[in-house]
Symmetry: C2
Subunit: 459 residues, 2 copies
């Protein structure tokens, strides 16, 4: 197997003259008179290893089978490359084919494919330049997220996927069942279902991370969440990954501070570790990617209360598609105006009207706004949403009743305010939304390995 | 908020005389004449911070409310502790109560509670000694897993949770649906369901990580998996977390090597970072925990083919509950005998009969065994299961047909053997099973934040 030091990215670091062995898949092949060039990739880095094979240097049958898509092992010497695009190349002494790929049927040929076509062959698109870069960035982003929180003493918590509590009533949920749909008795007996009552896929782990923050102080979750909305857009997935930190003894100011540090940190880490991949996105997908990321990573975020944001939008003189007045939820056009044109850097809007936010957000003294915050970033608008939570038992109970929710269903959530309650705050970041921001990819289906959308759950 | 340096575990590292501020929850409180002792915990470490309060040093009302379960902030000076159990204590100068906890109703009182009782208050059990230790170990274990693979250049992959492919037919699955069960038309129209056909919760991400390993060489998944088996035992969960590495250009020997290094590494990391927690488990839960872990971490694992294992069991002279002969699946009694009595260290059994293993395992030359491996460990038996995968297209297609599975359903899986196939191998580790091994906890429901079992999915 390939051990550290054996990947192609490590081979690039070896000295000229080194005897090396590389494994990988043929990206492209080109034949000249008496000499053959193979671009070999093992997924460890964007850059292919150029393999040069002189006639007679390796077995004929192996050479013949080394076509696009084939997997092989090649050994030889690292020599300076006269060609453009790489400093070194591998002069082959031996070649072994593990698995050929019939050029007549292999779907991933040299020329560019549409994203739609590649989506249909998600088991092979992983070998393309674009998706190689996407999944390396996704790996680095995930690692950076854990690193940020672990360095700060946050405890990683696995919140439940299957849940019997509707949480915040946040949108449509998938039912999880072992009832036999083909032979369902009428009326349906939910007590006969696996969990003895209806169960769903969680839309958030927030309420559960609150439990942990009120015992471990600073915690975070990082796991899949689900929405059963019938939204067939480039921005919606039925299954996506969320990161939800929660901090006890922390108010909205602390929350803002963590969110800002967090965003800058993960961007800086990806900029640091995925340079070649990001350069590819900048060149081929969206030429504003690098500049935006570098700008965000070095900005001091602006803070503006909602009421002030509304004033700025009202006096903008713009003709908004969604008219602005106090009480509306900000739309993408408003968010982007604030971050891209007014402040020209990320903006944290706080203290939204209670009416448009979830019941668990802390009520301000004015009785009409809550300690919510949205982080808006240039090119995308809202990227993080969070709040200080309502930690006062009676205020929370009243809000639960006012929303028509059942106090009994939220008994445990209220218990947290009854026993050792404390100010606490947190936020949520959608991994795929962050991936789109990092890569410039335009369709959210192309930044997750296996997208789940209405009518589609392949693999 | 608490930043690095402000946790109780950091306060313990400060010099005597330091002025410090601590936040946390009162574990216990004891009053003497003119002096009050509070054991304060913020979840950052097993050890409580002892707070000493002299009469008159802090406001009376705050002191009165500082009972078990209350959350507070206390500031003062770090002084040497005359008492047993701690080197330093905090002499309080000021005390602020965030949230009291009525001693008349707070369920988590000083004296020991049964695990069953604590399971019913999963939102409060997190504050107990036992569960504090459990979730710190779970965090450290999760971090160690990522660290091991990242250091070796493995790419982290998020495999799908919702799936339309039955994978290996590995046990009962949960159906995921948006059909209205209360008004289901007959016959059921599966094309009207969210994904246009029946979808389930994945039992494994293995087939999907194979896709990634055949593009990125070494990869791993770490995510939730699901079984809808109606098993109400201390070893079964309906929802649990799995780690599934997959390595291209890697045969069963390489697989064995990675599994051995992996197990030793994660055990060593937890031994290193969770010393106080493990000592607690060793003292209060299972007094063989530490010795077993240290033994495994320093052992060279034994390798024995299945046929040889069966011979050893046959000639043991034991009266097995499950009689032994070539062809049976090894039971816990057999596994523990091999690892605990014959070899007295972890054992990797390989080359099991094809009949009792999944279709995707590579067929040996003998035509009747496959390149499977199970890692058996003292005190628990099987802890890891894996195999070299069948990489030969025609052999795999034949096995799929022989198992009565549909070649069409596995078209993409067969494609991987058609285009650039390569020897590849991998294994799976159940996170909760490893947690039981590390902690000695006897019921799997007590090593996951929110257990899902037949009839139960609280929170």
């Amino acid at each position: 197997m390939i051990e550290p030091g054996g990947y192609i990215r490590d081979i690039f670091k070896k000295p000229l003259g080194a005897q090396v062995e590389a494994h990988g898949w043929v990206k492209t092949r080109r034949d000249s008179k008496g000499i053959h060039f193979i671009q070999l990739n093992d997924g460890s880095t964007f850059q292919d290893l150029q393999v040069v094979i002189e006639d007679g240097a390796v077995p004929e049958t192996a050479l013949a089978a080394a076509t696009t898509g084939a997997s092989l092992r090649v050994s030889g010497e690292l020599i300076p490359s006269p060609g453009a695009g790489q400093a070194v190349e591998l002069k082959a002494r031996d070649l072994h084919i593990f698995g050929p790929a019939d050029p007549a049927t292999y779907p991933l040929q040299k020329k560019g494919h549409t994203m739609e076509f590649l989506r249909e062959i998600a088991h092979l698109r992983v070998r393309s330049n674009t998706f190689g870069a996407v999944y390396r960035v996704r790996n680095e982003l995930s690692v950076a997220i854990h690193k940020f929180f672990q360095e700060r003493g946050f405890l990683y918590v696995h919140t439940p996927i299957i849940t019997t509590s509707d949480a915040e009533g946040a949108g449509a949920m998938f039912r999880v069942t072992t009832l036999d749909l083909m032979n369902l008795p009428r009326p349906v007996d939910n007590t006969a279902d696996f969990f003895g009552r209806p169960a769903c896929l969680a839309v958030s782990g927030q309420l559960e991370v609150e439990i942990f923050s009120l015992a471990f102080t600073n915690v975070y979750s990082f796991g899949p969440t689900f929405r059963a909305e019938n939204s067939n857009t480039p921005r919606h997935l039925a299954e996506f990954w969320m990161i939800e930190p929660e901090m006890a003894f922390c108010d909205l100011d602390g929350n803002r501070k963590v969110a800002e540090e967090f965003l800058k940190y993960i961007i800086a880490q990806v900029l640091d570790h995925c340079q070649a991949d990001l350069e590819f996105f900048n060149k081929r997908i969206d030429n504003t990617v690098l500049a935006t990321l570098e700008h965000v990573a070095s900005s001091s975020f602006e803070h503006v209360p909602y009421a002030e944001a509304v004033r700025l939008l009202e006096k903008s003189g713009r003709n908004w598609e969604f008219p602005v007045k106090w009480g509306i939820d900000l739309q993408s056009e408003h968010e982007r105006y604030l971050t891209e044109e007014v402040f020209k850097k990320p903006v944290v809007v706080t203290d939204y009207p209670a009416e448009i936010k979830a019941f668990y957000m802390r009520l301000n003294e004015d009785g009409k706004t809550v300690r919510a915050m949205d982080v808006l970033a240039p090119r995308i608008g809202e990227i993080i949403g969070g709040s200080q939570r309502e930690e006062r038992h009676d205020v929370l109970a009243e809000k639960i009743r006012a929303k028509g929710l059942s106090e009994e269903d939220y008994k445990w959530y209220l218990d947290l305010r009854k026993y050792g309650s404390a100010p606490h705050s947190g936020f949520g970041l959608g991994l795929e939304r962050m991936m789109m921001y990092l890569t410039g990819m335009k369709n959210i289906r192309d930044v997750i390995p296996f997208p789940r959308t209405p009518g589609s759950a392949e693999f």
